[in-house]
Symmetry: C2
Subunit: 391 residues, 2 copies
């Protein structure tokens, strides 16, 4: 088992405490990360409706999903057989029929249809149609927005979670080394991307373990394309005198360690090397402010004070909580590193200090995955923050 | 350019024809596949709200997204500068603020707030919250469910789209060969998965090209785990006398060719080899019925008639439309191969004939990506459909 039953029980207890505070009797989550967090369920089945339901007065959550995926719930969770609900195949992509017709009936059968029902209004895979089917049919229920309720329970990591994130750190370090070793003038981006994935997923001698697919896809873009934050590798060849941004995630048991670096082929112009140095100085100041009791605001002020000193501008936030994730994201949607954000750092909070500088016609990236310790911070992987130069 | 401006214009014209039929003046899509189809936009930015809007009386669509991603729209689309709307960073994951506050204002500024607005109620990334922000604030608009409107325009592929799917077929064939070459007793699943991704994305001598990340993750599961349809590779080692299901996607310019096969280490018992033979016979009968004018029902009846002959049961559908895709899916959500589905096959319709047989404690998979031709069918890749045996 990846986590003990005690750890799952503790998670469910904390979620129930939050439900109580919000007056929620039945909580429905569709975010695959939250589903995994509460039950261990793990499968690439989130392209069809599925969810986990917590009833405040019942010990175990319920899983529902497509019938052909219910064996996946039997294999990856310890839910009792009677808590696994597979809906029939005729509801799949067959409008006007819909899997939420089944969910509505499940709520009725369980006598939940007049309860206070928490739904994650803005979660991945909770579509407008899902919600409409519930509210149109469960007219005696009271619906309460429980978006991020479970995410905030995930805010502080357990020792086991930290352990898996450090394993992910070993994988991402090896992945970045593969990038460094394979980026050369005339080589295709796709060739490098394939090798990076081989390292991140297959592992190598330096990792002594394999990894998994990441919540966020591999970002790799060169030259002008590096001015955009989320372009992905193509068959374009690496060119001399071009910078390349790379953002990778190592993953162990769905826990992530993200890392961004910038590679330059040739002799970098001052614009990119100076900006990278300033960004790194900002990261150092931000890390110094990373300790329990400080707010995200404090970290942000420290980072931007350096940018301001050098006359640099960056509109986007400089980081976000990271941990458990499934596509499309590895961010946990709780803290963000930006000014005026009052969220407090606590021991075993983990975040991705992500300092992308996306300019008009070029860009650079530098980031660290960070754990807040009892007195400060710890990096979850160790790769020098220099501009990596390929000659 | 991956597609000509004429091809984009033709797509937009067909979408506007459908909008006219449904009385839709403004169409909002959030499905990354539909966004790409109408504009070419390509980036892993769908983890934050973004969309493409078609106004019935305007030539070009609009793109909106996070400001730091708007350079991605400038680079990957030919949209005019004034059709690219980047929303400010303070709206990102900062409730009660929300990116759809910006979208609401955009609708007001454009004088669309009293129009007939089409929204894809059940599309990926169109959350209940997105919809609520629109309907609560644009109270003079009439909202019309336009779910699948664009998907049905995508139903028949152009020659260029077919070309990219055949390129994807070259990649997936090489990827499956890598699986066959690397699966051995005692090897970790993750090691094999890394090598497969290296081939699918990086290409090799046999492909002479690289590929891209797939809309559906790599499915690989052995033994009892093969009884579930969507489990992903772990560090588990391959064992003797175990079957492994593998489902892969080759991808070129976001167009997919999917392929599933089953590998057995050792001497397979009759249960698996006989079931595979029967499934293959079903595939052959289904392919014979794949031609213009036949309905999905006809293909399904042909497939299930073989299963019935052998006393086999399969509840899940035997296929679905495939083509353009982003995580979490490569299916296009139009046709499904199942009984009583009346959708007609037409030339250049493409579908994944996916015959997974997920039993109580074991499973097998066998599939083909298929193009409907003028008179019959064509496979998009060529890999023998035998049970692949590793000794």
């Amino acid at each position: 088992m990846i986590f003990s039953q005690e750890e799952f029980n503790s998670r469910i207890k904390k979620v129930k405490d939050s439900m109580n505070k919000k007056g929620i009797e039945i909580l429905l989550t569709t975010d695959p990360s939250n589903m995994n967090y509460l039950t261990g369920y793990d499968g690439w089945s989130f392209y069809v409706p599925q969810g986990v339901i917590v009833a405040i007065d019942e010990e175990q959550p319920y899983w529902f999903g497509r019938k052909q995926d219910s064996n996946g719930a039997r294999i990856t969770t310890h839910l009792k057989e009677e808590n696994i609900f597979g809906y029939p195949e005729n509801l799949i992509q067959s409008p006007p029929l819909h899997p939420y017709d089944f969910v509505v009936q499940m709520f009725r059968d369980k006598k939940w249809s007049d309860k206070n029902i928490g739904v994650e209004m803005d979660s991945y895979y909770y579509t407008a149609e899902n919600h409409k089917r519930l509210i149109d049919n469960l007219t005696n229920a009271k619906f309460i927005n429980a978006h991020l309720l479970i995410n905030w329970v995930r805010y502080i990591k357990s020792e086991n979670e930290i352990k898996y994130m450090k394993d992910a750190g070993i994988l991402v370090k090896a992945g970045m080394q593969t990038a460094y070793d394979s980026i050369k003038e005339g080589v295709k981006q796709s060739t490098v991307a394939g090798k990076i994935q081989n390292t991140l997923i297959g592992g190598n001698d330096s990792t002594q373990m394999g990894g998994e697919y990441a919540g966020l896809g591999l970002i790799l873009a060169s030259g002008k394309s590096a001015s955009a934050s989320h372009l992905t590798p193509s068959e374009k060849k690496f060119e001399n005198n071009e910078g390349t941004i790379i953002e990778l995630g190592g993953v162990k048991h769905r826990y992530h360690c993200a890392l961004s670096r910038t590679v330059y082929i040739g002799k970098p112009d001052l614009k990119i090397s100076d900006t990278l140095k300033a960004t790194n100085e900002g990261i150092e100041r931000a890390l110094e402010k990373t300790k329990p009791g400080n707010a995200c605001h404090d970290v942000a002020v420290a980072f931007w004070s350096v940018l301001e000193k050098y006359g640099l501008e960056k509109e986007s936030r400089a980081g976000y909580s990271i941990g458990l994730g499934y596509p499309p994201d590895w961010g946990e949607h709780t803290l963000s590193i930006r000014k005026n954000e009052k969220t407090l750092l606590e021991p075993n909070v983990t975040y991705h200090l992500m300092c992308g500088m996306w300019m008009d016609t070029w860009g650079l990236e530098l980031s660290e995955s960070v754990r807040v310790t009892e007195s400060g911070y710890e990096l979850l992987t160790s790769v020098p923050r220099d501009l990596h130069i390929v000659n």
